[in-house]
Symmetry: C2
Subunit: 157 residues, 2 copies
Amino acid sequence: MAQTGEVSADQRLYLDDLQVGQRFKSATHVIDAAQIKAYAREFDPQPFHLDDGAAQSTLFAGLAASGWHTAAITMRLMVESGLPLAGGIIGSGGEISWPKPTRPGDVLSVISEIVEVTPSRSRPDRGTVKVRSETHNQRGEIVQTLLARLIVPRRQA
Amino acid sequence: MAQTGEVSADQRLYLDDLQVGQRFKSATHVIDAAQIKAYAREFDPQPFHLDDGAAQSTLFAGLAASGWHTAAITMRLMVESGLPLAGGIIGSGGEISWPKPTRPGDVLSVISEIVEVTPSRSRPDRGTVKVRSETHNQRGEIVQTLLARLIVPRRQA
């Protein structure tokens, strides 16, 4: 069963607590047209993210969130409720894909699964964890997949 | 030589205009602590992105931008000046890494190179392009690499 929701600081997980197959489920975030356009004005000013009318005649056939906006909301959900790691969520990179657009009114949530746990050979205080995070909308469709490499501290001996 | 700066609509590039090895250079963006904290409050509320003092005792040893903020600024630079594609910049995903943190005062710019051009077999009006984009700071250090898959329209026959 997936762990859900916010946890207190002493429940946060170290590398030693993580196992392949562990799953975590975030809270939800409702995205609306105003958020989509505000993000786009600041970071991705293209017609299909800014204007409902102009978006109709594009590949998206309607207003869609920037993929980077979906990534940003995913990160917020993971930080606040989706992946309670000691030391926070610190990524060195990963693979991302957006199989479907995020639309106004979508209710987003993130399911994360631990897929690899690797203690560092050179640094006994930490390791690397690979986490696959799927961002779902309210219809169960996946709008983003992220396979992230995270740096996670070990418990003090 | 890399192409630089904004172009008019009739100079925008279709799949047919792109070749492996073509390079493009964006304008610059100066990031400051206020931008880093504002982004973090909205999308990545962790101490190392929010508070100079708290950031000192973390892995980052000082305030650092969220990787997703670096990605967002990179996107804005590419949209406005860094990659003049017909139809805009529409990505289906890619690989991202953050080899170094983005810091307050950094002057960011993006160099993009076409690494693969693939006409669609099923859709004669478009194709896929792989673009490697490096985001540099003012010291020439790479703070982000992105290998993105983009959907690019073909010229009408």
